[in-house]
């Protein structure tokens, strides 16, 4: 692993920790870039090694800020891509030249364990879920694999003539894998880059003339969504202040600069004004696997008021916001901000009697949401889990928190 890339990873980790970037779109792009570079530039002997490297970086990024779901989502998508490509490659290899594979197998039978064997193993291990989980939990086979790998590489020098063809084949397979991986990663990056356009294009479908729309917080994608619609029709937007960040102020300012008729309201007026609102359109921090949202504080009261008045709630979310995790209440995924955000103590205050609570995130259950507007078109909350299967492998969702795995990867690196 080159030091340049390492430093870039650390750089991003630092940015994540300090929350220097406000746009999750940018996070998604930066994360995918790191993996693209990893695949393109780093030297990896086989798929397994690549996967281990990817996991190491991924873990670093995710741990930096566990509430920044976007990064985790991109990382998990990369894992999924690696798995899928390996699977595809293995199938295609078997289909293309079963005889050759067999012959390779026969070679490998003679030696203790050869590269090809490892190659296949490594593909197998990633593809076959059960095996992989077992491997991850028991570090020893992995290490032996790597060891034998190195031994065999040493052996290769001795018996080059014998195994020349095998070596070629390995390189061939590796480059094939690399190409297809790069292709898929690029596809993913294109997908991420184009989310704004694909979502903007749907603006006219959802916003109609003379609509009164309520929104909150700040989101570049939402602003461009409104801007797109405002080109053709007239509608009004009510923007909630979204205390304690008051990002609504900026949104209001931006929207009014697009000549959209904008009204800024305090969060408390949501219920009072909801009877005049035609639809609620909000952006989100993340779309969860159960169809609910974990998003910035303030969404819950809006959605609650909308539900009470039977006003439809549209949620705009790019694919990288789809988070394969299941929240059940406010506490599953949340954090508290500094009390200073909303309250300053003075000298004569009785400090021990005052407690200040500023939750950063809200959980909005799926029944509050009418429709998701994503870059893959409109999705209903009930059905959105289907989309998740396209992006993520089941195994990548939770095992990142596994401590054993961490040790495992560390051990591999030390050798």
């Amino acid at each position: 692993m080159s030091s340049a890339r390492l430093s870039r990873v650390d750089d991003l980790v630092e940015k994540i920790k300090r929350r220097q970037i406000s746009s999750s779109h940018e996070y998604a792009l930066l994360t995918s870039k790191i993996f693209k570079d990893l695949i393109e530039q780093s030297k990896w002997a086989d798929a397994r090694q690549l996967f281990i490297q990817a996991r190491k970086i991924g873990k670093k990024l995710i741990v930096a800020d566990k509430m920044n779901f976007t990064i985790g989502n991109v990382v998990k998508r990369v894992y999924h891509i690696i798995r899928e490509e390996c699977k595809a490659l293995k199938i295609s290899l078997k289909e293309q030249n079963p005889i050759r594979m067999d012959s390779l197998k026969s070679i490998t039978l003679r030696g203790a364990r050869t590269n090809i064997d490892n190659m296949e193993n490594s593909l197998d291990q990633i593809v076959e879920e059960d095996d992989e989980v077992e491997d991850l939990n028991n570090p020893s086979p992995n290490i032996s694999t790597i060891k034998s790998n190195r031994q065999s590489q040493l052996n290769l020098g001795n018996s080059e003539s014998k195994r020349g063809s095998a070596q070629n084949l390995i390189q061939n397979i590796n480059s094939q894998l690399k190409n297809s991986l790069i292709q898929s990663i690029n596809l993913m990056r294109d997908d991420i880059e184009s989310v704004h356009e694909t979502i903007e294009d749907q603006a006219r479908e959802h916003i109609h003339s003379n609509d009164v729309i309520l929104t909150y917080g700040r989101s570049t994608i939402l602003n461009s969504f409104f801007k797109e619609a405002a080109n053709e029709i007239f509608f009004e937007v009510l923007v909630c202040e979204s205390a304690p960040s008051y990002l609504g102020h900026q949104t209001a300012k931006e929207l009014s600069s697009y000549n959209i008729s904008t009204t800024l309201i305090p969060d408390s007026s949501v219920y009072a004004l909801m009877s005049r609102v035609d639809k609620v359109i909000i952006s989100t921090h993340s779309i969860m696997a159960n169809g609910g949202l974990v998003t910035h504080s303030g969404a819950y009261i809006i959605c609650q008021a909308a539900k009470e008045h039977s006003v439809p709630v549209y949620v705009i979310g790019a694919s990288y916001k789809m988070t394969p995790l299941y929240p059940f209440d406010f506490l599953t995924f949340n954090e508290l901000l500094s009390p200073q955000e909303i309250f300053t103590l003075e000298e004569n205050d009785v400090k021990e009697n005052i407690e200040v609570i500023v939750p950063a995130y809200d959980y909005v259950p799926p029944e509050f949401i009418s429709l998701y507007i994503t870059n893959m078109g409109g999705q209903t909350p009930k059905y959105i889990y289907r989309v998740f299967t396209e992006f993520y492998s089941q195994d990548d969702i939770y095992d990142l928190d596994d401590e054993n795995e961490n040790e495992d990867v560390d051990q591999i690196n030390t050798q």
Binding site: A243, Y246, S268, L273, Y300, E341, V356, V358
Partner: protein
């Protein structure tokens, strides 16, 4: 009549400071009836007096010069006003000599309130009104030192800012609501009112009275002053004249800030009482009756009612377990309830939810914590984080409508909605004088719009931008398509309220009409009682 006046004058000369505002209402009126020539004459005489009084002459003249110019401009206006006045009322053609004396007294009487008004409306050319006759001397005499009124008007700067704001844009969507109005020119329009009344009006503008109970009490106190100073023109019946004056005063106050339902009810009670007064009684007798009634409203309708509500509220606190009570913002009645509960050793904690732009909850938290009550402070968007732990929700109502809906501070409805979703009991506290026979289904039909600038002035929001985007809304006035909406009240539907506690007892929200009927009957009985009592 002249004799009366001279007597009063003598009194004043002996004790000008103790009774500064006595008869001012009347005096101002009499001042009005002067013709322009008379004024000129008066002014000359005044200057002489000033010289005699050995005041700083140079500064006076400097001040006088521009004033006279303005005066001439205003002459026409004044004459028109005078004509109107003369049409309305029998002209008091009084002797100039006595007027002159009066005027010097007015100077004393009006000095302080004038000063404060000028502070508020700095650079306002229209300041000079009827009273400008006397300003020079008062200026040099009194205005320089910090006056009592100035100290009591912390918000005067805010008011100034408010006037700089310029015209407030209309909100198309909510045009049915009364728009937030500029408040300049109010003082000129109502300059003839009693200084106590004017003073209170300005205090209301500066939001010194956030609770409608304190506002109501302050208004009634001011009315008491006004009524005791009120003199009836000869051959006129007191209640007729008084009613007219009351209407003007109420109109003025309403322009300062729209009345809440409670205030409307209280004022209606007073007006009804005045109109039903027995005209055969002497004015002093009538006045004492009105006074009695006003005291009755303060004592019985507000103070006693609060006490009995507090008593009933104590039963809500469980003895077994610690209560976690959710409230919104700062409500005086609730504070009193918590204080009482603390004294009764009830175990409870208070969650104070707050909302921009007023942040009344911060003060509430500080006061409660100083009383030794444990508080949790959060914004309204953080309530859902705590709602599952909350045991009860307490609401202080601004008014209760006859369909069971409760009008309260903005944000109440969303909190009660959350509470209802989590099956938490919602208890509303309200004095019966706030019960209204009106019906409303949403908060937009009858609401009050606060100063939109407050939203833009939010400090936290300004800081957030960090330099480059500092005060993102600094120039919102310039943007045509941007409107800030600062609603004050909220309507909570009947189904989200479990109980209303008023001085009659604990009632479900549906039975509000019964209480209204009962309290109306009680009022009528009470009316008769007072009449009987004082008649005998």
């Amino acid at each position: 009549m002249e004799e009366d006046k001279s007597k009063q004058n003598q009194k004043k000369e002996t004790k000008p400071k103790e009774k500064p505002d006595k008869d001012v209402g009347k005096l101002v009126e009499s001042g009005k009836t002067l013709t322009a020539e008379e004024k000129q004459a008066l002014r000359k005489q005044k200057k002489e007096e000033q010289k005699l009084a050995k005041l700083a002459k140079v500064s006076q003249k400097q001040e006088n010069a521009p004033e006279e110019e303005q005066k001439e401009d205003k002459k026409e206006k004044k004459q028109k006003q005078q004509q109107k006045k003369e049409e309305k009322k029998a002209p008091h053609i009084s002797v100039i000599d006595s007027q002159k004396q009066n005027l010097t007294n007015i100077q004393h009487a009006l000095a302080a309130p004038k000063v404060e008004r000028e502070d508020i409306k700095e650079g306002d050319g229209e300041l000079q009104s009827q009273n400008s006759l006397k300003t020079p001397s008062t200026h040099s005499k009194r205005s320089r030192g910090p006056s009592f009124y100035q100290q009591n008007l912390p918000g005067s700067e805010a008011k100034e800012e408010l006037q700089k704001v310029g015209s407030i844009k209309e909100i198309a969507l909510f045009s049915r609501l009364a728009n937030f109005k500029e408040l300049s020119g109010l003082k000129e329009k109502y300059h003839y009112l009693h200084p106590k009344i004017l003073d209170l009006g300005l205090r209301i503008i500066n939001e010194q009275y956030t609770s409608s109970n304190t506002r109501c009490i302050a208004m009634i106190q001011a009315l008491k002053h006004f009524i005791s100073d009120f003199t009836v023109p000869e051959n006129k019946s007191l209640n007729r004249e008084l009613e007219e004056e009351l209407n003007k005063i109420i109109q003025f106050w309403q322009e300062c800030r729209p009345f809440s339902t409670g205030l409307e009810n209280a004022m209606r009670l007073i007006k009804e009482f005045v109109s039903q007064l027995n005209t055969k009684l002497t004015p002093t007798k009538q006045k004492s009756m009105i006074n009695y009634k006003l005291n009755y409203i303060i004592q019985d309708k507000i103070i006693e009612a609060d006490q009995s509500i507090i008593k009933k509220a104590m039963e809500l606190f469980s003895d077994q377990e610690e209560e976690l009570i959710l409230i919104l913002g700062g409500v005086q009645l609730l504070q009193m309830i918590f204080q009482e509960a603390k004294e009764n050793n009830k175990r409870f904690k208070v969650v104070v939810a707050d909302t921009s732009p007023d942040f009344e909850g911060r003060e509430m938290v500080k006061r409660l914590s100083n009383l030794g009550i444990k508080c949790i402070y959060t914004m309204i968007s953080g309530v859902n984080f705590l709602i599952h732990k909350v045991t009860k929700v307490f609401i202080g109502a601004s008014s209760v409508l006859s369909n069971g809906a409760v009008v309260a501070k903005i944000g109440t409805s969303i909190i009660t909605c959350m509470a209802a979703r989590h099956q938490k009991p919602v208890v509303v506290f309200s004095e019966t004088y706030k019960f209204s026979d009106k019906v409303n289904l949403d908060a937009i039909n009858n609401n009050e719009i606060g100063d939109p600038q407050k939203l833009a002035n939010n400090q936290k929001a300004c800081q957030h931008g960090q330099g480059t985007q500092r005060s993102a809304l600094g120039d919102w006035q310039k943007s045509k398509s941007l409107v800030l909406l600062n609603l004050k009240y909220d309507l909570t539907p009947c189904q989200n309220i479990n109980m209303i506690i008023c001085e009659f007892g604990r009632i479900p929200a549906i039975s509000v009409p019964v209480v209204i009927r009962e309290s109306q009957r009680e009022n009528e009985e009470n009316q008769e009682n007072i009449l009987d009592e004082l008649d005998s």
